[in-house]
């Protein structure tokens, strides 16, 4: 499978059809799915019908959009009208949305072909995809390892090169960590950049949708396709969407890159990881960037702050799952026993843990001590970034503390799992754009470099990522293990 822009351009030049592109994607999925388990649902008939429409529109000479004929996958929390949307939860196992998310509508308007809904941690709560109520997804680079989470299915299917572009959501790292684990590009946009309308809510002040792609150019196009103001989401930002592909750079002359001193200390204990990131910073310097040291003194409080704010918002959002209007209902003798029985049966362990924690943080007598205090620390964290960006244009730092780990290795230890998001949470709390771009391999497994920019400066961030990607080409250096033994793939 090529990149999305290569497929789109080939279709536009009549060298291939959208139908052929969709068939190739579905064949690649069929070949790898028994081992990867990346999808909760495939949509072959709908995809092929849509591809034929795109081919017909092209034949009529119509403008078919930025992603015309490109096969894409979406995380199973984007509502797709008429197609089951579960958010990885038993409580929504049979939910068929009567409308589509704005992201889905915009993708379709830009000619993208949605081939399926990808697996995820239940309600996007997790960092390994093992919290899905339905199945665990495997890592295409190392089949006994996790793909990361919560957007693990989207990361795995792009990492396996089944589709060039998939979409995820990131609340505390759920696009960036799986992108790092699966050797792909993953972009968390500025909060408010992409509409949340029709996305199953987790933590509403943090949730943000973004692209997960083989290369940076595809992330630029995919973000342009989905970004922009939406009157259906009152927190969506009325800020113009630039042509991101026009911002991609070939060198970094005149760019100041901030290196976070506190993060450098955190990663120093792991020699291989530390060496990989030092090499990445040197590669940025070699491209002409000036490296400056910056400080994020409150970043170390990120985990504590996040695990008060996100569960608090989740406990409120998930109050809607009561068996009344949609989703699972477990009957009881009265209405309260119905609520209780429905929620006890419908939610998995991680969701229950966070609903309890969040309810506690918001409860009478503890609200100021925990929730409001966390919101104040959030202000300090945002200020750290404001000050850092007075000294640099883009921050470069670790996306993760380790390469992918084995399935089951952390699933019984929630705090160990929470620590996986140590380097990604501060940006989420500050609401600023951040991404992971392939930075090489540790123990033969992919690791991503995180790039961070001020609010609404995705173009600047993607520009740096593109120069780095084109100079290093880590994503093309190896073949995912899922193809081992097939044909000439090593």
């Amino acid at each position: 499978m090529n990149t999305g822009h290569e497929i789109r351009d080939a279709i536009a030049r009549h060298e291939m059809t959208a139908l052929e592109a969709a068939e190739m994607a579905l064949a690649a999925i069929a070949a790898t799915e028994p081992r990867l388990q990346a999808y909760l649902q495939l949509m072959p008939e709908r995809a092929l019908a849509r591809a034929r429409e795109i081919d017909a529109a092209i034949a009529r000479g119509q403008d078919v959009g930025l992603l015309a004929g490109v096969p894409v996958a979406v995380k199973d929390l984007f509502c797709t009208q008429g197609v089951r949307t579960t958010a990885g939860s038993k409580i929504l196992a049979n939910f068929v949305p009567p409308y589509s998310a704005t992201v889905v509508r915009r993708l379709e308007a830009q000619g993208a072909i949605i081939v399926g809904k990808t697996n995820m941690d239940e309600f996007a709560m997790g960092s390994s995809c093992e919290n899905s109520a339905f199945k665990a997804t495997h890592n295409p680079w190392s089949i006994e390892d996790v793909p990361g989470g919560s957007s693990g299915g989207s990361a795995a299917t792009v990492g396996a090169r089944c589709v060039p572009i998939a979409f995820g959501t990131d609340t505390g790292g759920s696009i960036r960590e799986p992108a790092s684990f699966c050797g792909i590009v993953g972009v968390k946009p500025t909060y408010g950049r992409v509409s949340r309308y029709g996305i199953v809510a987790f933590a509403s002040s943090l949730d943000q949708a973004g692209p997960m792609t083989v290369d940076v150019r595809d992330s630029a196009d995919a973000l342009e396709a989905i970004a922009g103001y939406d009157p259906m989401d009152s927190t969506s930002a009325n800020v113009d969407v630039p042509h991101y592909a026009g911002r991609l750079r070939e060198d970094l002359k005149g760019v100041r890159i901030g290196i976070v001193s506190e993060f450098d200390e955190s990663i120093a204990a792991d020699k291989a990881m530390h060496a990989l990131y030092q090499r990445a910073y040197e590669d940025l310097r070699a491209l002409g960037a000036e490296l400056v040291t910056v400080s994020l003194p409150h970043a170390k409080y990120g985990l504590a702050t996040y695990y008060l704010i996100a569960p608090a918002e989740a406990s409120s959002n998930l109050a809607r799952y009561d068996g009344a209007r949609y989703g699972l209902r477990v009957d009881g003798p009265d209405v309260f026993s119905m609520f209780d029985a429905t929620r006890a049966a419908g939610f998995g362990p991680e969701v229950k843990r966070r609903v309890i924690l969040g309810t506690y943080a918001l409860s009478s007598g503890y609200y100021d001590a925990y929730y409001v205090r966390a919101q104040k620390v959030r202000t300090l964290m945002k200020k750290d970034f404001d000050e850092a960006f007075e000294r640099c244009d883009v921050i470069a730092c670790p996306a993760v503390s380790c390469p992918p780990f084995q399935l089951g290795a952390k699933s019984q230890d929630p705090v160990a799992m929470y620590l996986m998001d140590y380097f990604t949470i501060p940006m989420s709390l500050a609401g600023i754009p951040a991404m992971s771009v392939p930075a090489g391999y540790v123990d033969e497994l992919p690791v991503g470099l995180q790039l961070v920019a001020p609010a609404f400066e995705e173009g600047r961030m993607l520009g740096v990522a593109h120069a780095y990607e084109q100079a290093t080409r880590h994503a093309w250096a190896r073949t995912p293990m899922v193809y081992a033994g097939e044909g000439d793939a090593a």
């Binding site: 909060y191 408010g192 927190t235 008060l308 009881g332 006890a344 309810t359 205090r373 202000t379």
Partner: protein, 95 residues
Amino acid sequence: MPEVPIDIAHVAKLARLPLTAEEAERFSAQFGRLFEFIRELQALDVEHVHPTAQVIPLHNVLRADEIRPCLDHDAALQNAPATEGPYFKMPRILE
């Protein structure tokens, strides 16, 4: 064993989320470890810091008060566990 401040039975009731004894015990131990991190926030001086509820400077986003197309009854009810006519059907709440 670190101190766990949560009265889990009480909070579970507030959340309308009954837990088994095994779940309550397991969560309690796990929260103990998490609160080792959360307690670090107590050491910060935030007395004069304004809380951040959301990060973008938007206030009072309103829309025009106009009738617009919306979901019809059938679509709104299509996922309902139980219906009666054009209504969601719920267990009795009054004797």
